[in-house]
Each structure stands twice: as C-alpha cells, then as structure tokens.
Amino acid sequence: MWRSFGKKLLGLLVFVLFLSFISFCLLKLVPGDPVRSMLRVDDVAVSREDIADLRNELGLDRPLLVQYGAWLGKLLRLDFGVSYMTYRPVLGEFAEKLPFTLLLTGGSLLVMLVISVPLGALSAVYRNRWVDRFSRVFSLIGSSLPSFWLGLLLIQLLSVKLHLLPPMGGGSLAHLVLPSLTLGVAMSAIYVRLIRSSLLESGGQDFVASAKARGLHPARVFWFHTFRHSLVPLVTLLSESLGSLLGGTLVVEILFAYPGLGKWIVDAIVARDYPVIQGYILFISLCIVVLNLLVELSYRWIHPQLGWKGR
C-alpha cells in the first residue's frame, strides 16, 4: 500500500510542477509589467534606464525558460524568491498569513458541520415533514445567496446594530466568528441536502435493519452504522469543495479585512508581484493535491473493504 501511495505522491508532485510551469507561462503572457508598478510606487519620474536596470536586476529580461529554470532552482533550496512589494521572502510572508486562513477554513468547516449535520439528519429522519421542508428552502436560498452579501448583512446586524462582534480585522477568536459564519452558512446549503439523501440511502441498507434487530440503541445504530456509512459521499464532497472554500475565503477575507492569504494575494495581483503570485499558486495547488490524497487515505478507514485504489 505504501508503495502505491508513494507512486501516487510522486505523480502528483510532477503534476504540480507542470501546473507551476503553465502558471509561469501564463503570468508572462498577460499584459502588464511589474517593473512599472514597482517604480510607480515611488511616484517620481521614471527614466527608461531605470526600467531597464530594474528589469535586469529582477532577471525579467531573460528568456522565459531560463527564468523558469532559475525559479525552479531556487525552489529546490526552498527559496520562493522575494516579494517585489515588501522585499521580504515570499515563504516568510506566506507562513505569516497561512495560520489566519487555516483558522478561517477550519472555522467555516465547523460552522458548516454544526448546521448541516443536524439539519440533514433531522430532515432524513423526518422526511417530508416541516424540518425537511425547512431544510429544502434553506439549502435553496443558501446556494443562491451571494456570500459577500450575507457577510455585509451579518456585519450590519451583529456588529453595527448589536455590537456583539468586531466587524473587521483579525487576530482574536471574536474576529473569526463572522467570516466563519458567512462561509459556513453558504457552504452548508449543499451539505444539508447531501447528508439528507445519503443518510436516507444508508438507512435503507440491510445492515442497518440487522443492527436494529440486534436491539441496539437507535442512537448507536444511527451514528455507528448509518452515519458512518454516509461519510463516504460527505468526505468526497468535502474534498471537492475544498477548492471553492479556499476561493470563498478570498472574498470573505477582503470583506472583513481579515489578514489572511486572500487579502495578501489580491494585493499582490494588483501590484503584479510575480514571485508572490507564483508562490501562492504553487502553495494552493500543493495544498489541494495533498488534501485530496489525505481524503483518499481516509476512505481506507471509512471503507476497509475498498482497500487502496491505486490509479
């Protein structure tokens, strides 16, 4: 098993490199010039020589492949380059921002689970009753709700009107509540229906009937047999929506002026901070690839009979 795991990991690493190459080329293809935006910051007259000098200094005048090779070479030494904006190492800045975004991601996952597991379970148990109808409406509205609008409304209600929570910024647990709530509510819209339908499917399995016939407590049957069986589609959807969750953190971080990766990267894009953008794309794709791998590993625990599926 570990051999096929290693093989898979290797394949994914090659894939991430390929992705980084594509993004590298893409970055160079789009119009815009980091040198100009860097020099514009100083707000003094810029001569042609200045531009040429800076371009030479940053190595931007060399052929594309040479630039990529240089970037890769540094990468091997875990050197992601230096941000054009702050002149600080990209890796250090990333390490500084990552915990914020991870906290936000974790928080919104928590909110999502707290909302959707009970609601999905209730609407599976009381199918076609009012709970079920409520959850249907909830998920329909939730999936149509622009998350940033929800965030704006929450700010107005909970922090401006009721003064319960800080509206902006980050750093404390209280700062985490509103952004997590915003993202979690929007996410739970899909999960409620998924949990409901997969619980209904699991509840109809023969082994659930057998477990009941053994006189086990209904709660035990539900959590250890029915719900556990429903984890497979749940985990699959989780792995699929991790990407959109990370994307979602981007808007929400800007909305709440939350000092995470999202704000960092948008600032970098506007300033054409290539090393930051390139590093960010690499980080994100690595994160997603690794998380997907973990999800696949978790299938082994959920469904021992499946074994390791080497592709």
Binding site: L140, L152, S244, G248, I288
Partner: protein, 284 residues
C-alpha cells in the same frame, strides 16, 4: 446491431417540441430583460443629481437613490444587462469553446488528447474562483477582462464532460461503422456524438448560470469588474456598503436582486436536471 437504433437515439437526445418551449422560458425571459433593459428603466440610471443623494424609497424613486443621487431601481434594471447579460455571454462562450475542444480532443485521441487531459487537470486543480481572481486581476479591471477571465475558468468543465462523452461514443459500433462508411470526421462528431452530450451539457450549463452570476458579482465586489459608473450589482453593493446605516436600501436592493436571479436560475437548473434524469430513466 447498434446502427438499427440510430433513429431512436436521435429522437431521445433531442428534446421534443413542448419540452423545448418550457426549457427555453427562463433563458428567453432573461434575454428579453437584457434587450429591453434600457426601455424598462423609469429614469436614466447614470443621471447624477447630487441634490437627491441617499433618498429613501418614495414614489418618485421606488427604491430610493444612491450616493450620487442616481435612481436605484433604474440602476438595478440596467444591472440586469451587465450582470446577467455578461453571465449568459460567458456561459455561451464557455459552452462553445469547451464542447468543441472537448469533443474534438476525445474523438481524435492520441497524444493531443493526453496533453489536453493534462491541461484540463491543471485547470481543475486550481479553484476556479481563485484562478478567476488571479487572471482578471492581472488583466486589469474592466468588463471585457472579467469576461475573458471567467470564460478561461469555466470552459474546462464543459470540455471535460464533452471529452468523456466523445471517448465513450467513439467505442460504440455505430461510430466505427460511420468511419468505415467514409463519413467525414467532422460530420460524425456533429451528427452522432454531439447529440449525446447535449443533454448533460445543457443541465450542467443551467446549474452553472447561478454560479457564474455569483462569481461575476463577487469579482466586481472586490473591484475587479466593470468600473464606475457602470451599473453592476456586485459593484453597487461595494459602493453602497459604506452608507448602510443612512441608506440600507443601497445594500438590500442589489443583494436581493442578485439572490432572486440566482434562485430563479438554480430552480430552472434543478427542474431541467430532474426532467433529463426522468427521461433517461424512463427510456433506459
């Protein structure tokens, strides 16, 4: 053996007439709103009247006015054209590009197809929203750059779907027969393979419309969309959020318009999916 079933297959894959009618209701309504938007606005959505700043809803301004004294209702109606119109355009372009490349790649196969598969994988790995932000940010703000960025993100899903259908259908006997009979490849793709993926692709597209609208609105919200004074729901929300306490309608109205439109699109997509699923189940 399979060729005998061809006439039936065709009938099954193209929806019947009355289904066409209701399936096209929502798109037609949206199109009508987009075309007629300038006629429907009660006032000029771009007319600045500084004296009428931040007016609450009244008879003269049904939804009130914004921070520059522009009529909010007119701006929301004008926003249908920017927000929904752009989304539909994006959807159409993504469909065209995705389905064409996907079908061709799947049908031609070989080295090109393997490379294509890798490219699709690469696109799929990066979250679409993040990708769109990076692209449109690098291209610079503006409606056409936004359009381009979202298309660049969205075509992949259709390409993947079309490619998988093409790969499936290529294995079928009737395709082989058509090739043997000397039918041009382009014609085979168009007449035999395209109809097979049309149903799935249309359902995917209908379910995607809401997502695209939300994506455009949130990109404009963070300032990557059309620039002022253009009326776009997301950027209207961005402008209006500062004045929430004084003029809550500035934030409520565009948000509600956005939500209702996406809701309508999602309901339509759900219905379409159910209909297609039922059809395949009945005739399978």
């Amino acid at each position: 053996m399979r060729t005998a079933a061809l006439p039936n297959l065709k009938k099954r894959m193209y929806p019947r007439m009355h289904q066409w009618i209701w399936m096209t209701t929502l798109p037609l309504l949206l199109l009508a709103a987009i075309v007629l938007a300038p006629l429907l606005t009660p006032q000029d959505p771009y007319l600045i009247t500084v004296g009428d700043r931040l007016l609450a809803p009244s008879e003269a301004h049904l939804l009130g006015t914004d921070h520059l004294g522009r009529d909010l209702l007119s701006r929301i109606i004008a926003g249908i054209r920017t927000t929904v119109g752009t989304s539909l355009l994006i959807l159409a372009c993504s469909l065209l590009i995705g389905v064409t490349t996907g079908l061709l790649s799947g049908f031609i196969g070989g080295l090109w197809d393997r490379l294509f598969q890798r490219i699709i994988d690469a696109f799929m790995t990066l979250p679409d929203y993040i990708f769109a932000v990076i692209l449109s940010g690098l291209l610079g703000p503006g409606l056409s750059n936004l359009l381009f960025a979202v298309i660049a993100v969205k075509w992949v899903g259709y390409a993947r779907l079309a490619r998988s259908v093409a790969l499936q259908e290529k294995e079928q006997d009737y395709t082989a027969l058509a090739v043997l009979a000397g039918v041009p490849k382009f014609r085979i793709v168009l007449r035999h393979i395209l109809p097979h993926c049309l149903g799935n692709v249309l359902v995917l597209a209908a379910l995607d419309l809401g997502k695209i609208i939300l994506m455009i609105a949130s990109l404009s919200y963070i300032g990557l969309g059309p620039q002022p004074p253009a009326a776009e729901w997301g950027s209207m929300l961005n402008e209006g959020q500062v004045y929430f306490t004084a003029a809550p309608h500035l934030m409520l109205a565009p948000g509600a318009a956005l939500m209702l439109t996406v809701l309508a699109a999602n309901l339509f997509g759900d219905k379409l999916r159910d209909r297609f699923d039922v059809k395949t189940r009945e005739e399978a």
